[in-house]
Symmetry: C2
Subunit: 507 residues, 2 copies
């Protein structure tokens, strides 16, 4: 591993009359060839004696990269170079995920996931931002909540592994612009207000103590590209390898907001837009997030719905992946047409309720026309971001090597269903990749591979930001993408094939 920290065992010669170099110099010159001019802070200078003598000049030094060079973070007797730990974190606005990593082997020793404590100040980011705007004392509350979130996570990691933060040699945090502003304690209102110039977008290497973390070492905070394209996406770009890829890749991180990177080692375009909460189960009348009681998958078998409920109990609502399945099934059975409208003559199960059509997908749980409208708008927004970018560079989906979808949504969604409703392009299925928590993965990669720093520089310098909100064409494209799967059916041959097989009228 060639990460942001190193543990190096040194067998030094004891001082003699002939070589009376200082203890400091004995250590630094042993490191010089591989690590250049290494910095030794006061704390370590104070540890030199009697540690070096008592250890018979066999010592292990911990080095951390400070952004410009290496600094000694710890000095221990004997060879303890195998005890080398670091932490990577995805600071999400809803969930904070940490991994304790063995930096010698790359093994994840323990993980934690917790609700972001900031949610106490607002479930959505904007509420938190308005709470802190021009109230430094409120901002400080949010900052502290964020830090405490990490402190609790450190404690949990210690409980699980026996390794506490005092043993961390370095840490990498990946989060969106707002999360990084809260972590550092910067007013984030600027992120959502014209001209969208944030306070700081590349905090880079921060001494852990400056953030309030109880270890010696640096915290690398992934830099962001723009207000809505934060460190989480840059981290994701590193994790997916998009910037080094020969074939063209699409990297889509979709949740309340959608962020998109399209490119390869020759070009990189990026953009972000509001996808709407529908994808996470919000805005849908019986929508809920993916927890016990949520329908996560559903099949329509003849006239009967077969729901797969998280936890196995009674269905209480439906989450994103369930909605995608449901719409796909309704469409493939002809219950919903290409315009996204219920076809009441297709089934007696399509009933009228509260003045609109609906189906009862689980006992007493209805999916309404307005739910369909809401969700299809959202999928249209996401699909159009991708399409718009492809048009911009004069390519079609057939030119895409990999279509990578980040996040929990990407992980749980059924690929076939997502293609059916036109959310994913109709590509060879092996090219449709659920990339997982790319924000966390990028943090992990950085922790273990210092050369990711150059990749970040490359990504930031090449990434061209496309403002979708500004684009007139966008609205027209989105209209076409509102259809199921799309007005241009030629793009979805496998879907047409299925419809034909199902004998749906008109195909």
């Amino acid at each position: 591993m060639d990460g942001l920290s190193r543990k190096i065992y040194l067998e030094l010669a004891a001082p003699t009359k002939e070589d009376a170099a200082s203890s400091q110099e004995r250590i630094l010159r042993a490191l010089k060839a591989d690590y250049g001019e290494v910095r030794m802070p006061c704390r370590i200078l104070r540890m030199l004696y009697p540690l070096c003598e008592e250890a018979d000049w066999k010592v292990t030094v911990t080095l951390a990269w400070d952004g410009r060079g290496w600094e000694i973070m710890n000095l221990e007797a004997g060879d303890v170079s195998a005890r080398h730990y670091g932490v990577c974190a995805d600071l999400g606005s809803t969930t904070v995920v940490l991994q304790l990593v063995d930096c010698e082997t790359g093994r994840v020793l323990a993980s934690t996931s917790s609700y972001n404590r900031q949610t106490a100040y607002g479930a959505d980011i904007l509420t938190r931002i308005f709470y802190t705007k021009d109230h430094p004392e409120h901002l400080e509350e949010l900052r502290k909540a964020t830090v405490e979130n990490f402190l609790d996570a450190f404690a949990e990691l210690k409980e699980k592994s026996g390794i506490g933060p005092e043993s961390y040699a370095s840490m990498v945090v990946s989060g969106n612009m707002t999360m990084v502003h809260f972590l550092i304690g910067m007013d984030p209102f600027c992120i959502f207000s014209a001209p969208y110039a944030v306070q700081a977008d590349h905090p880079d290497f921060i001494p852990a103590s400056q953030l309030g973390f109880p270890f010696h070492g640096y915290v690398y905070c992934y830099p962001g590209r723009a207000n809505y394209l934060g460190g989480d996406i840059v981290s994701g770009a590193v994790a997916t390898g998009i910037a080094r890829s020969e074939e063209i890749c699409i990297f889509l991180d979709i949740g309340t907001n959608g962020e998109l990177v399209v490119g390869n080692r020759e070009f990189l375009l990026c953009g972000a837009g509001a996808a709407g909460p529908a994808l996470e189960g919000g805005s849908v009348k019986t929508g809920m997030c993916a927890r016990d009681g949520a329908v996560q998958h559903i099949r329509l078998d003849g006239e009967a719905f077969q729901a797969d409920v998280i936890g196995g109990g009674k269905a209480e609502g439906i989450c994103g992946s369930g909605i995608v399945d449901l719409i796909a099934e309704l469409f493939l059975h002809g219950w919903v047409d290409i315009r996204g409208r219920f076809v009441p003559e297709a089934s007696g199960k399509i009933v009228e309720r509260d003045g609109e059509y609906a189906v009862e997908y689980a006992p007493s749980l209805y999916f309404y026309q307005c739910d369909l409208d809401e969700f299809l708008s959202t999928k249209a927004a996401a699909a159009t971001m991708v399409e718009y970018m492809m048009n911009l560079i004069g390519l079609t989906m057939q030119d895409v090597g990999k279509f990578q979808v980040a996040g929990a949504f990407g992980a749980y969604i059924d690929k076939e269903a997502a293609v059916t409703i036109g959310m994913y392009p109709d590509l060879e299925r092996s090219r449709l990749i659920s990339a997982g928590n790319t924000s966390l993965k990028g943090a992990y990669e950085m922790l273990l591979h210092k050369d990711c720093l150059e990749q970040v520089q490359d990504i930031l310098s090449r990434m061209e930001y496309v403002q979708f909100g500004e684009v007139e064409d966008f609205i027209h494209l989105m209209g076409a993408a509102r259809a199921v799967p799309h007005t241009d059916l030629g793009r979805y041959p496998t879907v047409v094939e299925k419809l034909r097989k199902n004998g749906i009228h008109g195909f």
Copy 2:
């Protein structure tokens, strides 16, 4: 000034839709051309808003050099670039001297000088070292005493100038190896114990907070060359310009110990030896340091002594410069011979007291043969260090361009008298230079001229250390140097001339 800190006034453009770069980036890119990749710590990131906006994007940044690059230490509204202050310090084992410097003009705004608080743990360094040896809690006492010394000095500088430590942009400290060990909190026993490998000899740039100093910024601590050749001498070498000189220079810092650097831009030799306390008035029965009541200069007018007493009152003893004068006068009047022995037949004022000869140089104050012996041994040690080095490189005193003597002793001593007793070489008088507090001057130079860092690297890499204690020849040379001025009178033509003029027998 191109010192270790800078204050730069920036007129930035406010963010616009076209240029929505972050506040951080707006500042960093304005600095990039002149200062490269500047680091902005958390504390400054938190200050960006609302400061930049409220200041209409007209701000002053304070930069400090951290040893590898520039770091922003402060951010202020408007143009306050003229309010730019730093501190330089000579951390002497007896006296601690500080200067508050206007880093824009180089003007010294205030100075302080105080007894080193460590003296409470021993007037001489060795007592302090034995007190702390393997007693970390005692070492911590000494460290704290040293820090408090500085805190008091900061307070005094504030009282005198209105400028407190919170306004310091950087600080340079020069001190010998033991002083630096105490300042940082490192056990200094190693300095005086074989094989003389110290803990650390190049602490370089230390964040002020790590030392316990109340300002943001770095403290540059001059590196040392060897156990007895510490940062104060390297600083002195910078101050005297010896390493850049075309002509050969001798730089002598003499006190309880004597340190010597001989060289020019082509070579540098250095060495150190115990000079003995005689030069500071110790070991001489009526000796005292240079304070009120001390005879600082003295003339022999016929048979009568004319003493110049510090403070103008009654003479209570004699300090170093007085002793040099006294011996020179006794010798020039034939009362003391070339072997350094009283010549009782030369004057009735030479009396026998307590079994040895003595003269009453002031009412009831006697200077004894044993005082003479003691002092001449000391001057012989100092003169021999110089001679030994000149022999080593095959040069004579006539090849020397400048003979620079540091310290209070160098400042108050009468050049003519020093030549007469053979303490200084018999060079053209303009070449004998009282260099003053070179340790402090080197610290001042570093504070205002960052390129002194390269000079320090050059000095450290070229300085060859000569161990006098090891040299057999040394003892023989010292015998010759015990004479007044020297057994080889050919080296002292102006002294012989004076003796002839005075009609002293044998010349």
